[in-house]
């Protein structure tokens, strides 16, 4: 059987097949698994890339029926049960797990594809980090760039990605760059969060929304609600309201669509091109193919609501697909997927996190930040990743230092 994608969904599916009599071939275009919830920490130098990207082969050392390949999927022939790759011989499958994830959806905003910085992959995070560092170095040498908005960042999207990114950039600026660039006044480095709806953190309760607004404000983040980005250039962001913001950096945290490969498969697609998954997560008409994670349109069998594109959805749906394949291999029937809501959490900065539990309970502030840290540490792939993240976070907490803020480019000497 073939697993396409080494994210939470693909890993979850492959691991559930450890003791099943089946050959598992997992293929990803990268040689690493990405811990996506912490990408914004790579972009803002709190964590180095190797803590957030973990070698895929390493995760399957103990699983003797699994093989890992680094290759880019070029096409899938559902009738012939065959996957083609850009850089590897084709694979024929008996079972297929579609966990290829998503790509950014710019909703047609002019200039976004060329100039915006998304935060979905590890290269995205490193690119954003290098761009921010490069702009500060440039402004340090040519102060006229500061007036042109070189240090201003517009973050689009008032959901978790946008808020976590805006908060982390604010701390990088206000706690680190204030010392790194003592000659550049911080008030000339604005961070502006733009949300199209009437509120940021719309999925959270009111008390949490208020807390988040205040925490952002304390960190010098300006929040604009009810504003829609119309177009961007390398140096300007234009809003539909007519406002023009000078900013050399626009972080896009506003929307995803499924991997474009699904367009060629002739499957039922829903909003954002997501592949409709049956209750057992198989694809309509193809009981041997399972759609999981960000690529899939998964409906919660209890609440009848469509599940959000989150790590927890990906991991749980992937594991369930793996279990269903195990059932099929053993001649049993598949079972419907039940999502277990463990709550949602986000962090705005040091000691400032928010948590919303399934039954309406909430937490905020330092206690939530501690809980956030514990949960994310537990989820990191290995003890070593965990140990290093603890050091990075602890060090940043005590000293306000982020030693990863360096630019190592392989096209450099």
């Amino acid at each position: 059987m073939v697993v396409l994608g080494g994210g939470f969904a693909g890993i979850g599916a492959a691991r559930k097949l450890k003791d099943v009599d089946v050959d598992v071939v997992l293929v990803d275009k990268h040689d690493y698994h990405t811990f996506q919830p912490l990408l914004y920490q790579v972009a803002t130098d709190l964590l180095p890339p190797a803590t957030v990207g973990h070698a895929l082969r390493d995760l399957f050392h103990e699983q003797s029926n699994a093989r890992v390949h680094k290759a880019t999927t070029a096409g899938i022939d559902l009738e012939k049960s065959e996957v083609r790759f850009a850089d590897m011989e084709p694979l024929v499958y008996d079972y297929l797990v579609l966990g290829l994830g998503a790509e950014v959806n710019y909703f047609g905003v002019e200039g976004a594809a060329e100039h915006a910085f998304p935060l979905y992959t590890l290269p995205d995070a490193v690119r954003l980090k290098e761009h921010i560092l490069e702009r500060w170095e440039a402004a340090d040498k040519d102060p006229s760039l500061v007036d042109d908005g070189a240090l201003n960042v517009v973050v689009v999207g008032g959901g978790a990605t946008g808020i976590e990114s805006a908060g982390a950039i604010a701390e990088l600026y206000r706690a680190i760059f204030v010392d790194d660039y003592p000659d550049i006044p911080q008030e000339n480095a604005r961070i502006i969060l733009v949300e199209a709806g009437p509120e940021i953190f719309a999925m959270f309760k009111t008390s949490i929304r208020r807390y988040a607004e205040k925490a952002l404000e304390q960190r010098g983040v300006e929040v604009l609600v009810g504003e829609i980005v119309e177009s961007i250039t390398p140096t300007r962001v234009s809003l539909k309201s007519g406002t023009q913001i000078p900013a050399h950096t626009l972080v896009w945290g506003a929307g995803l669509q499924a991997n474009a490969l699904v367009l060629s498969l002739g499957l039922d697609l829903e909003k954002g091109n997501r592949v409709v998954a049956e209750p057992d997560l198989s694809v309509t008409g193809h009981p041997e193919v399972f759609a999981v994670g960000d690529i899939a349109w998964v409906t919660d069998t209890k609440t009848k609501k469509v599940l959000p594109q989150l790590g927890s959805t990906a991991l749980q749906s992937g594991e369930h697909a793996g279990e269903n394949i195990a059932r099929l291999v053993e001649g049993k029937k598949t079972e419907p997927f039940k999502y277990f809501d463990k709550g949602t959490m986000a962090t705005i900065g040091r000691g400032a996190a928010v948590i919303q539990m399934p039954r309406g309970r909430t937490m905020k502030g330092k206690a939530a930040a501690l809980a956030w840290g514990s949960v994310h540490l537990a989820l990191l792939s290995t003890g070593e990743d965990r140990a290093k993240a603890v050091i990075d976070w602890t060090w940043a907490g005590f000293t306000h230092e982020r030693p990863a803020r360096i630019t190592v480019r392989t096209d450099d000497t």
Copy 2:
């Protein structure tokens, strides 16, 4: 005053001027200081780049008379006391520290500039690492590449760089890739150390040489002495003896020459274009200019021997130049440089290091490895770098794992 170069030499000079009434401007083409003795560990995934490259601005937070800029030096006008940069306005200096380091010397070996992998900078190390990973991934998909020598590595140079690199690559292959690529037999992945002279580790005593040879052999490294590389292509290494080795990777650890910028200065140059330093480390005819580190030809005032291009020489000469500038600023005379030999150490692999002390004492094996670890930890820039290196080394020691073996390219999606 201006310090060109943020290596051991430049850092040493700038720091010694902390409490002196002078404005220190340190310029490097990177935004980080490189801990060069551990570059081979980045190339072989024992340490991530951010442990070996430390943000330069971070190192001068506490030094209020210092400013750091990232810029590439384009030329120096010694008569006008002015430095020009490719990407920054010129700087005029009263005192200048020349700490621009070296570049690789291929001694005219055909194809080396195009195809060899040097190990002098952090981008060098990351490039070598990515190349090795890429070759293994490619061979995993196309086994015919294994027969073509895709996994073979030729390491040129039997000095510390060559031996440490060959040993570390051997451990990466024999302890890690053996699990990562279970379908590729290790005997098809050769590591060959080529030394032109009659012995490897020529600067060490016989007992240490024998130990090193044995340690390399135990790790499956083939040692060829008295062999000179004549030419290389992307897939073949040709020796002067007529032997041709199929190998897609050649690591160059065989020689340095001073930064090419010195050729335009009209100064006295010695072997490898190194700038001749007077006993006080100033440059002949320019008492306001000091040559330090790998760029300089420094003679030990006690032994009359020319000092090797090592980190200890760089740090000590840099610090001495800084102290001499402080003396000049305070109206005193400069003093001659005295090198303090703390011995030489190198590590061949886990629990296998060698140390040669100044008065002929030696250490080898586990005790030497422990001493090596302590010294290098003490030399790393900050407590956080030290803490993370401890984790990386300890983890690698216990589990044989190296989680940094991933390829994050910013030209990737």
